[in-house]
């Protein structure tokens, strides 16, 4: 449709949530206006994203859009406000837009400084959208860091009892990782500039570094990888995550696990693989080992957790390990399914964290040992929890299964003809462990004896906004699980240099 073709979608997708954030911030603190501002603006953003997706799908070159404005043009440094959207970006943006809307609905009963709360959520959306669109390292880094601040405030302002510790740990830990990445970006730009002005454009840097020798590629790949790995997060750079999640408010957790972690894997695919194909090969084995360690380690850590939310947090580590496993195969199948898994995990983990938030809020505790038999009092909640857990453990017919099947298959294919075929067992074993901890947690929390350790007399079931928000995501989980082709069609168009 020509109607939509002239709309500057990319800029609007940054501006609309930004405007929303400003509006929300200026609504009255004690009235309920902020949530409507948040819901409306995030809904508009989502609608824009959907229209944009439609426009991109019907474009002559499907799923590819780029635009660039000169921003800083000096003798020493050249930076452009460069945006670029391909299938992977689009998916992540759609996920962001969706989850922001969902958490806005979910948290609509938030009454503690609601204006700031929703402003932060929308500000977060700006940052996330920016990260997934930026095509200039300067811009990319800016948005990357911008996401930290709202999250820091969300955790430290609306979090649990140890929120200050968790928030500052999150902030500094991920900031350090970003800075490591920043050094790598400097090094890349300096290397690419070769004495001329530093140009931070993705394409310019990639072009200039094309003939770089393997050692330098591997070194820069390693530094960037370190930055991204802490974001994903991969073992052993993960310890900020469980703390952050345990203390974060539900909206924060959903966005953190749903889309923020994906920034790491997005970066690995977009930057590491694309710019340093040789470096990727040099790091391939290491990446595989790290991925497997993360998968197994995360799953085992889940088993030992007593806090439901902490368990879900560790499960994120395990599942993001799965993403890296797909990436590490350096095959188009692996990377495609890694992107798929990013999308799938974003949806699933949103439900999981909403469920955890609900149990914490409604039952007053998330300690599994204090819970039990909740399904009797909260049947709808139990159904959502079961759905989320089953989706996360890779139940066929739901979106998580497709991703895991594809990733493990790509890994299996990669191992063919090597003597390490047995390594696929670790990936498969994780499926079993994952099922184990989820089922065990359900057995102890919602099934069995109705707990007498907490007062269940005032416990109520899922409220309407909560049900709607979780229902939307659950429906999508089932939809994309049954028809993964929709997503795959988008992913197929993604072109990454280091992938065969």
């Amino acid at each position: 449709m020509d109607l939509f073709n002239d709309i500057p979608f990319m800029v609007l997708l940054l501006l609309v949530p930004l405007m929303g954030a400003v509006f929300a911030a200026f609504t009255h603190r004690n009235r309920n206006n902020a949530k409507w501002v948040a819901i409306i603006f995030s809904a508009v953003t989502l609608a824009l994203t959907m229209v944009y997706a439609y426009v991109m799908a019907t474009a002559t070159v499907p799923y590819l859009d780029a635009d660039s404005w000169t921003w800083i043009d000096t003798d020493y440094i050249v930076i452009s406000f460069s945006l670029y959207v391909d299938g992977m970006s689009l998916l992540m943006m759609a996920l962001t837009a969706l989850l922001v809307l969902v958490v806005s609905i979910f948290s609509s009963s938030e009454s503690n400084s609601a204006n700031t709360f929703f402003a932060l959520i929308l500000a977060m959306e700006v940052g996330l959208m920016g990260v997934y669109m930026a095509h200039d390292y300067f811009l990319f880094y800016i948005f990357w860091e911008v996401t930290l601040i709202p999250m820091y405030f969300l955790i430290s302002g609306w979090g649990g009892p140890r929120r200050h510790y968790a928030a500052i740990k999150f902030f500094i830990y991920t900031h350090v990782a970003s800075l490591v990445m920043l050094i790598a970006i400097f090094a890349m730009a300096t290397e690419a500039a070769a004495g001329g002005p530093l140009n931070f454009g993705f394409d310019e840097v990639k072009l200039a570094l094309a003939g770089m020798d393997t050692f330098m590629q591997a070194a820069l790949f390693g530094m960037l990888f370190l930055g991204f790995a802490a974001k994903m997060p991969l073992v052993p750079f993960h310890t900020w995550l469980p703390d952050a999640h345990v203390e974060a408010p539900t909206a924060g957790s959903v966005l953190l696990a749903g889309v923020m972690l994906k920034m790491g894997s997005y970066g690995i695919i977009r930057v590491c693989l694309d710019v340093f194909p040789e470096g990727a090969k040099a790091w391939q084995s290491a990446m595989i080992v790290i991925a497997l360690v993360a998968i197994i380690y995360g799953a085992y850590a889940c088993i030992a957790q007593n806090d439901l939310k902490k368990m879900v947090a560790f499960s994120s580590i395990s599942h993001m390990g799965m993403v890296l496993l797909g990436i590490a195969t350096l095959s188009s199948i692996g990377v495609s399914f890694a992107i798929f898994q990013m999308f799938a995990h974003g949806l699933i983990t949103a439900v999981l964290f909403m469920v955890c938030g609900l149990v914490g809020h409604n039952a007053g505790t998330r300690e599994i040992s204090l819970l039990g038999g909740l399904a009797g009092k909260m049947p709808i909640f139990a159904a959502f929890m079961m759905f989320g857990f089953l989706a996360s453990l890779g139940l066929p017919g739901l979106v998580g299964f497709v991703a895991e099947f594809g990733i493990i298959y790509s890994f299996f294919e990669y191992l063919q003809g090597t003597e390490y075929l047995w390594a696929v067992m670790f990936a498969l074993a994780s499926l079993l462990l994952t099922a184990g901890y989820y089922l065990w947690a359900m057995q102890r929390s919602i099934f069995g004896r109705e707990t007498d350790k907490i007062d269940l007399s005032h416990v109520h079931d899922v409220s309407k906004p909560e049900g709607i928000s979780m229902g939307i995501v659950c429906a999508l989980i089932a939809l994309f699980g049954l028809m993964p082709g929709i997503v795959m069609k988008v992913i197929e168009t993604v072109q990454i240099a280091g992938v065969v």
Partner: protein, 488 residues
Amino acid sequence: MVSFDITAFIDYVKPIAPHLILIVAALLAPAIGSRSEKMTAVFMTLAALSAIGVTAYMMYDGYTGTFAGMYSFNDFAGLMALLFLTVLSITSLMSVPGTERRRRNGEYFSLLAIATVGMMLVCSADELISLFIGIELASIMSFALVAMKKNDPRSSEAAVKYLITGGLSTALFIYGMSLIYGLTGTLNISGIIDHLAAADVTWSYMIATVTLLAGFGFKIGMVPFHAWVPDVYDGAPTPVTTFLAIGSKKMGFVVFFKIFLMLFMASHLITGTTHQLQWVFAILAAITMTVGNIVAVSQTSVKRMLAYSSIAQAGYILIVLPVATDYAMMGGLFYMIAHVFMKGGAFVVVAALAARGVGENISDYRGLSKRAPLLAFAMLLFLFSLAGIPPLVGFDAKFILFSSALEGGTWTWLVAVAVINSAISLYYYAKVVKAMYVDKGTTKDRLKIHFSFKVAVAVCAVAVVVIGVFPGPIIDLCGLGADAFLHP
């Protein structure tokens, strides 16, 4: 008959025209001050602004010239003059509500103006003598300024400490200058550079340069010559602290650039290798930023924390010296400009709060976001900018400065140290932010902030954001300055 040629006279004094404006203002200030302190402050601000206008016009005009063979005006001097004049206007603005000084005294503004003149003279000095005069002018005025809180024992203690350590620094660099003169036989700075760049590093060379280094290192708060900084910043009246932090420190850097940066670049041209002093500077830079940041972590007073953070920031700017490229010089200038607004803004906020009886401890800032939302938000911007969070100016500054250091690969480790420090710094900045935004305060009373503070804060906040988002023009300006400085 001696005819007085007015145009010839104007041409003659044109290189020091901005200075003259300030000197005249300084002479008039006590007269006005006896009537109304508020008026003096406004007068001094206007004087600074008019000097800014003159300087800007001269730069726009592309004017270069030399006064008495001692002071030359070029883009660099103009840029730095603009910087110091901005500092002066911010300081004057925040001195309007003189709650920290009991008596009306216009001489306070005179001292500020004269100190600024001294700093500006340093920037345009071509000779060691003019350099020395400029430094001493600024220093002696600063000694007096620190003692301005007349009945406050802390103020006088700070002044004593500043005086004694400052005296030692004066003695050190003047002794160093004498040795340099002995080595080179000239007091002209470019002559000295030419001599030193070609000379072998002998014992006297070493002692001469190191005493200079120590003497000027004192000014910028370089570790281990930094120990006065926290005490003096803490004890001095907050406007003076601001002046010292964002003004007189820059003067120290200008001297470093004039002598050492030029020396390194000249020596690099001749020998093609890294000068040994560059390593000394690199080590000192690393130590400076590390000590500054680490000690800042455990501070409970905002002012003192900002003082340590000043030390750390000086450590970052010191990166320019070992790297010694055009790009690094530009980055250093950019960082100094950024520092004026972010650190200046932070101090203005502290002063504004102190003026309304809010203490200087971090715990006193609890719940500030409810009591003074805009001020708290501005403080948040300044602190995050200092921490290097995009898209604020502090980030751009670090981005440029750190990225400059990677060329050649020699100083990558220094960037790594800087980056780790930057992460540590986030901790103590965030502590204040947390107190303001997350913690619940004991009271929710709104704070009425004086108008002139508002103006000063607004100027700084706007600068922090606007330059942060559109650094291009300032980068160009710094590039011009660096070019004029390095390739006269």
